[in-house]
């Protein structure tokens, strides 16, 4: 496996970090809550056989203040579609988790040529008031990891401050990541994706952790029904909402088998 490489691209005038590791066909990763403040085990699993490209979403770690340039859902979809182009992911396989799933699904629906195969892990984008999503922005301070992961320490590790970082700036970046998600998904995560799911013709894998406390199981079925025959579903036992943090090997295997 090659070393982790860092590139910088410019998206809407904002310097944006792109991480890359591995060789082979490309696979992209749009993360969920918290973004990708550090490279983690799941990405390493993918990089064993694929070239993994992780562009920073606007406002998420490495994405600067790019979220403030985006004022509506169309802005977000276009910006993240451009992000695929600029980071060398267009036409490749794409993984979207939670927040990132809502964007990845919309890009697949609106710009079908940009995505080959799509893997969604507990994606946002729909909302059913009879079976509501847990509000991740209404958790008591210091407890959000308990709803995000079956192994909360995994999220704590993901967001732990690196040794050489300024503590104030690190805290601000973590809040900014949460804000960026809120900027396009507040308050429910409902981007009315149900109106566009039928446009997704690519093969789609809908993954969900069996212990997901954020998005109820019924949403996996709603996505599948909306997309139709190209969608298949799978459950990762023992994983929470950010399933790839809880069970990196199992999630990577399911996705690599699907995109083969």
């Amino acid at each position: 496996m090659s070393e982790l490489k860092t590139r910088t691209i410019t998206l809407n005038g904002v310097e944006t970090r792109v991480w890359e590791k591995g060789a082979g066909a490309t696979i992209g990763y749009f993360p969920g809550f918290g973004g990708t403040p550090r490279w983690h085990a799941f990405l390493d699993e993918l990089a064993k056989t694929r070239k993994v490209i992780v562009p920073s979403l606007p406002g998420f770690p490495g994405g600067g203040l790019g979220h403030l340039e985006l004022h509506n859902h169309l802005d977000w979809v276009i910006a993240c579609g451009d992000l695929l182009e600029l980071s060398g992911l267009s036409g490749g396989d794409l993984i979207g988790v939670g927040f990132g799933g809502a964007l990845a699904a919309d890009i697949a629906a609106v710009f079908p040529q940009k995505v080959r195969r799509l893997a969604l892990i507990s994606s946002y984008g729909l909302y059913d008031e009879k079976d509501p999503i847990t509000n991740v922005w209404a958790q008591r301070p210091g407890t959000v990891q308990n709803v995000l992961c079956a192994k909360p320490e995994r999220f704590t590790e993901l967001t732990a401050m690196p040794n050489d970082y300024d503590p104030t700036e690190w805290q601000i970046e973590m809040v900014r990541a949460s804000e960026a998600g809120a900027r396009y998904l507040w308050p429910f995560g409902n981007t009315h994706l149900d109106r566009r799911l039928h446009r997704i013709k690519q093969p789609v894998l809908l993954l969900r952790g069996s212990e997901d406390k954020v998005i109820p199981a019924s949403y996996q079925q709603k996505f599948a029904a909306g997309i139709g025959s190209t969608a298949k579903t799978a459950t990762i036992n023992g994983a929470g909402h950010l399933a790839e943090l809880d069970e990196p090997e199992a999630v990577a295997k399911a996705i690599l088998d699907f995109v083969k």
Binding site: H71, A138, R140, T168, Q171, I172, S178, A180, A182
Partner: protein
């Protein structure tokens, strides 16, 4: 010195075990605790108290806006202000205020404030809060990441609606209106004085300086905790080349007056402990939606916390300002300066010190709080008006002019509301 009488209108019947059995006084407070027939009496008592304060000679009576809140029963302060405009004569009416981003479209605020200014003959102070996280983001669903830009845009729209004599179109990001032409227009020209309630963010200091608005620091935690913020405010004014006119600023303070301090500690114990216990029992899950606090303010807050920990080796209180110690006894409340308690002379001396140290020309006083009865509220109000007010009224007036006070129509030109019974009218 201007002395303003402020009412929050707290629900006075929250049960004694409220903190044990309920998670929050705000956002998801249990609606089954609300008895509308009791609220009928509360509203009428509260309006009596505001009118009584006006009659006692306070310079202004103040109301504010909260939503889904057990200590603030005014989702629409304009409704209360309308009744006050009819039932009071000379007192300024301070609506502190309308959370601009919550009005759709915000021309509604320009219209209703203009109505209030017309009905009152030009006695309105127009307050424009951003609104708390609990009110705006959770109870009213606003996006915390765009709340402030929506607020600023709404402000621009209201100001243009008040000051542009012609019909115009407004092409904003959040509001697109083909014909803006409010009718009525405010009595006070070009517009009523604008006061901005704030929580200590440096951007708000700067904006008040730029727009020449009053900055009013509405903290429930008294003069001791508030001094640092007001010092920051005045440093920023100096940096921006603004004078130290104390009327640029307002400050909220709870007060309880009695014949002696001992007596004050005794009679205000229950309402103060009710407020700082039950009324501030806010679930912290609603205190910090991401993006509500600007990064610059976060940066200053985190840095000052790091410095405090480094210097004192102790953790500061919850960042939201809403985290309250478990033991909210009257002794603690008094000692921390949350409520100033004492004899008239003691309270006057303390308020003089507060006003001068903070350089604040608009004192916004809470003389009703928690479950304080109307009798006790009126006692507090009357004793304050008779024995405290005369001792502090003169502060600043020899040196400074209040450019931010309403300029009503001349008294002789103003309407006199007819008596309320047919017999009296005839």
């Amino acid at each position: 010195m201007k002395i303003c009488w402020f009412h929050l209108m707290p629900y006075t019947d929250l049960p004694e075990d409220f903190q044990k059995k309920h998670s929050s006084v705000w956002v998801d407070i249990d609606s089954r605790l609300f008895d509308p027939k009791r609220a009928h009496h509360m509203y009428n008592d509260f309006m009596d108290e505001l009118e009584f304060a006006a009659d006692c000679g306070f310079d202004a009576i103040c109301v504010n806006e909260h939503h889904a809140n057990g200590y603030g029963l005014m989702p629409s302060p304009n409704i209360i202000a309308a009744t006050l405009a009819r039932r009071t004569k000379d007192t300024a009416i301070c609506v502190m205020g309308n959370s601009l981003a919550l009005y759709n479209p915000p021309t509604r605020v320009a219209e209703e404030f203009a109505m209030l200014d017309c009905i009152s003959g030009g006695r309105l102070i127009a307050g424009f809060p951003v609104g708390t996280p609990m009110d705006t983001c959770y109870a009213m669903g606003q996006n915390p990441s765009s709340l402030r830009e929506k607020y600023r845009e709404a402000h621009d729209l209201v100001m243009q609606a008040w000051t542009n004599p012609d019909t115009f179109s407004f092409n904003g990001r959040h509001n697109q209106i083909p014909f803006v032409n409010i009718w009525p227009r405010p009595v006070q020209q070009p517009h009523p004085p604008v006061w901005i309630p704030g929580g200590g963010s440096v951007e708000t200091f700067e904006w008040c300086a730029e727009m020449d608005y009053v900055y009013s620091y509405l903290s429930y935690f008294g003069y001791k905790a508030g001094l640092a913020t007001m010092n920051d405010f005045w440093s920023k004014m100096a940096e921006l080349g603004k004078d130290r006119n104390p009327y640029r600023a307002g400050f909220l303070q709870f007060v309880g007056v009695a014949e002696t301090k001992q007596e004050a500690m005794k009679i205000y114990k229950e309402p103060a402990e009710y407020f700082y216990g039950r009324c501030l029992h806010v679930d912290p899950r609603y205190a910090m939606p991401p993006g509500y606090t600007t990064e610059e303010t976060m940066r200053r807050k985190y840095q000052s916390q790091v410095a405090a920990v480094a210097q004192k080796g102790e953790e500061k209180k919850a960042v939201s300002g809403l985290g309250t110690p478990a033991d909210m006894s009257i002794e603690f409340i008094e000692q921390e300066g949350y409520v100033i308690l004492g004899s008239p002379d003691e309270v006057a001396e303390k308020l003089r010190e507060v006003a001068i140290n903070m350089n604040v020309g608009h004192l916004m006083l809470l003389l009703q709080y928690g479950n304080m009865s109307k009798d006790l509220t009126n006692y507090n109000t009357k004793l304050f008006a008779e024995k405290v007010m005369p001792q502090i009224k003169d502060i600043f007036d020899d040196k400074w002019e209040d450019h931010w006070w309403p300029k009503p129509m001349a008294k002789a030109e103003r309407a006199v509301p007819a008596p309320t019974t047919r017999e009296a009218a005839e």
